[in-house]
Symmetry: D2
Subunit: 354 residues, 4 copies
């Protein structure tokens, strides 16, 4: 429920309305949008004060059909929110590319992947240190050692590091090493984990559950934001359907639907949706054309030797080609992708020297 | 199963192989691709002659893992097939746009829609005369009168006419009036209908069933082709999933998957996938970026008065805007969309004068 | 929309109300349920007369939230409808079992199957003469010859014959030979076919589409009934989901949901849902326990030699065992299954003698 | 991969084989089944020793197509496993009923629910103290206070207590108060949580994720068992599909499929599948008829006042009626349900006196 207060509303009236709401045990969020103030009653439960709000002289309009998520709703920031990093931001004109291997497997591997994707124009490096795996017998990641290797790769390339947190107790250690905390699909409704990453001073990349509706995704984001962390990026990565010719079904319409409903930036993961590298370029172009703010793509120096997801990973040459295509597609929708380094100037040195 | 014959294979050997296959009650299809001949054993059931084919001196290679559809498989025409109309073709560089209302509702309505979409750059006019409706109480279309109005709209604008056939007995009457016969989603596995449109001298637009796998779509196309009609366009229009924020879930990955597996052109219907006009532009751009050969878009002169699907129809101004966006997206993937008429030169006269 | 008229309503008032509705171009259906008359405005579109109906003195209550299907709604016959055959009926206390092979393959095969299932207690024989197959290269059925063999099997055993109609033009020829006309899953929204079987003097077994909602199934049944044929049995046969360990996912809850919403009898097909004979007994017991009025089960004299669906067919011994289990389950819910013949008295003679 | 050793295999040979496997960094599990020993190579990765195992004189047979879950596979205990509690066991002839409210809301509420379900024949009391909720604004449970109230209800009634653990750090505190640890649907692939409950000395009730395959459910169970806890009960509770007439789609076939593939007991939750109490009896009977080992049913003293899931909760009278029906259905499949107390002898005293 949102009360819209007009430009003539006095500070005293605003305070009165906030007291009225809080006096009924409800939380409130005030935001200013040009010539109106929006007083959002957070969550539900405000039915008992509808009449009093409606009849208050400062309330121009009372929107009782607001969605069940309040803080992430588009209405809170009609212009969209930007998540700023040094040198670029997510949610602006630039389409930000995150790339790297499924898992951190070795020092050489992650450094080599990082250099390749930095050279191609990626802004961030992905790579799992803690891997949630369907089978207890699959490779579970290098853990803290993996985090340290990711930090080393950041130092060598300037890429920001995105990596997954799988349990609340590890949120702070991951936040020490990483720039962005990823919550994976299987944990999208691990509500304690959402609250835990919401308490960290790092942006969060929240992947849609493979069985989650768009509304559930937005409510999951709301968990993170209510815990104090407004810097959330949403990620569409394919949903589970009856079709088996792809690993998942990329719900491309989720991009415009999310852009309508929330101010948070929207990232697309074409690799997990496709499950096969042959489809990644097509889905990536589609995501950019549909309006996505970024992509997260699996790239591995030698896909055939990857411990997981090799089948859907691009090799460095494939990534360069993809980035060229994305530059053209981005331009067609009035956006751009970071340029990448000219091949001749790419340094192979720093990490090798160590 | 496909036997690959080398360049040195004599005509006599080729005939021998064909006789061997047909002698086992199997159908055969020979196609020439540069320096090899492909002898496809149509359908399945050729297990009994595998050894004899494999040991035949002219057979370079025997592919026993060929997909269950033979005639529509990419391998039959690695370069892709083009369906030619006068003035343009589907499956080439041009991205062909089909547009118009869900149903033909009146003479004025269809003429006005036709002029609008022709002006914007559409090549074909869509509009249902026979409507398959979920409820027996919904508007079922104008029938033959609708076909005549479509033909009149074609004469007034030069657009080709695409309209649906709902039952085998009406395939020939629709073929008399229309340029392309549409088979709707709910009829994708109406096998008698597939055979019936396969006997008509008109290209077919075959829509994917809302519950059909990609393989089932290709097998449905195979029905049309085995009946004698190779000019089939496939249409992805959204599949049914658990997500309810869109009418259906556009399976955008179906575009590259189909392009891998079949030589037939691939069209996307963003309107039925989305169910709301606000999403149509985003999905259309995505489809073009993903590699579609065309789009079929619902456009209505006054969407709010439409007897069906008004919620997902663009108005003429929205269609013009969409076409401008598509021109830019098409260029980014090395393709183009027909230019449309300059607004000043568009004649309103011909149909009104009648 | 349904207008409820009280017991004091005069014949003249009733006629007045019917005229009022029909005068607005709407169809009407009057039914008597004890002390009230229900005047159903068939389909939708009656918004314009709501006020006049509501204010009419004979109208006790106007239900404007009636479902979009009118004639098949439970409210029309709260006691449920029974479809009577000589010797038994569907929709009463007896749980009726329909059994037989997927397709009629040969005279011996269908006679042998018929005797086996009759001996076990089946009331009807299933078997396809016209087979809708996903691939144009699969066995398409024996056609009219198959219908004649089914009729012969009926004469030899007394079983009623259930067989599929796949296209409107063949509805009457199938109706000449069969006792029940089946509309298959892939044709559930082949609306012309629904109307065609609705014009035949035979009960219809309407299978739910493999991705149809319950409401769509009821609207499909409404097509048959509005065409003049009220004797429809609905069949839940598994829906398509992401789960691949069974051929389809039996939506067991469809049984009680359908029993709430419609007066039509509900049959369950465990064989197509399961896709493997090992699961058939478990699903059959579940269907009976859930409240189904009947089962349709695939039984083949020699499942391993079946031309289609052998994997999910029971052999005669398996069918006997199933029937014994069903007798116990039926008793637990206050119902029964036909007894079957004692083995010693089963005649092998009649058909062989011919 | 499983190596089958014959009855003549010496202890020395068995040790040799175990050393061979472990020497390759693989885990091993030996189980004895009558006259053979099964040496299971846990998980995958044993490809490198296939030849050596196959040629070992004590190895009768090497099964390399074993499923990816090893410890929970049916083959490990063809007779099925029983989880014993004092007075009853799960997985034997008795069908065990777990019942109670969705969440513990108050002392009176849980005591009243406990007495009602104990009187009806339930063996265990369900009730959430920690509630995973889709919205951060919904009631999240009473936490530790809820656990204490559950323990009090156990003391008052003799029911065992089943309650949910939502995060690894709370596994031990829940294990102190509860008899069975529940892992909810949204946490089925929260692998750290699975390992955490696997370290507790309490049986685990593992609910299937609402879009998890049966294989994923079994692999999740394998996580618990590899952590040291073999006492796992699996729970089918409905999966997410396109059908919206029920909250979820009960996958009734999961019951026989699970019974084929695993030795673990299978419980069905009809309440969450249905989402409406009117359907609970039908689904419960179906589950018992299909072969389930138990049910978990929502019962609330006053469903209309429940803070969550009231719409799907039975009231005490509805529960009694259900139990009577289940007794009859259980008998039809050769099983039974606990008798319940005669109404007159049910004590209202103990808890009230406190």
């Amino acid at each position: 429920m949102i009360a819209v207060l007009g430009p003539d509303c006095s500070l005293q009236q605003k305070a009165e309305i906030v007291r009225l709401v809080e006096g009924h045990g409800l939380r409130v969020q005030v935001s200013e949008t040009g010539d109106a103030s929006l007083v959002a009653v957070i969550g539900g439960g405000g039915e008992g004060i509808i009449d009093r709000l409606r009849s208050h002289p400062a309330v121009l309009e009372l929107r009782t059909d607001a969605p069940p998520y309040t803080l992430v709703a588009r209405e809170q920031r009609p212009e969209g929110s930007r998540i700023r990093f040094d040198g670029f931001s997510v949610g602006g004109e630039e389409i930000v590319v995150i790339a790297g291997p499924c898992a951190v497997e070795s020092r050489d591997g992650i450094l080599s992947a990082a250099r390749a994707v930095a050279g191609g124009g990626a802004r961030m490096l992905r790579g799992g240190a803690f891997k949630p795996r369907t089978s207890p017998y699959s490779f579970q990641g290098l853990g803290v050692e993996g985090l340290e290797l990711l930090a080393e790769a950041r130092d060598a390339t300037g890429l920001k590091v995105v990596t997954e947190v799988v349990t609340p107790g590890e949120a702070s250690i991951v936040a020490e090493h990483a720039d962005v905390l990823q919550v994976g699909s299987r944990n999208m409704q691990n509500f304690r984990l959402l609250s835990a990453v919401g308490e960290q001073p790092r942006p969060v990349l929240l992947k849609r559950g493979l069985m989650a509706t768009i509304e559930e995704l937005l409510l999951a984001a709301e968990y993170v934001v209510t815990a104090g962390n407004p810097r959330v990026m949403l990620c569409e990565r394919g949903i589970r359907t009856y079709e088996t010719s792809t690993r998942n079904t990329l719900d491309i319409a989720a991009v415009p639907v999310l852009k309508e409903r929330t101010h948070l930036p929207v990232i697309v993961d074409p690799s997990h949706a496709a499950g096969r590298r042959e489809l990644v370029a097509s889905l990536s172009r589609a995501a950019v054309a549909a309006g996505a703010d970024g992509l997260i793509v699996e790239v591995h120096p030698r896909p055939d030797e990857a411990l997981s997801d090799g089948r859907q990973s691009l090799d460095p040459a494939g990534f360069e080609e993809l980035m060229d295509e994305l530059r053209r597609t981005a331009a067609a929708v009035g956006r751009h992708v970071a340029p990448g380094e000219p091949v001749e100037s790419r340094s192979e040195a720093p990490a090798d020297r160590v």
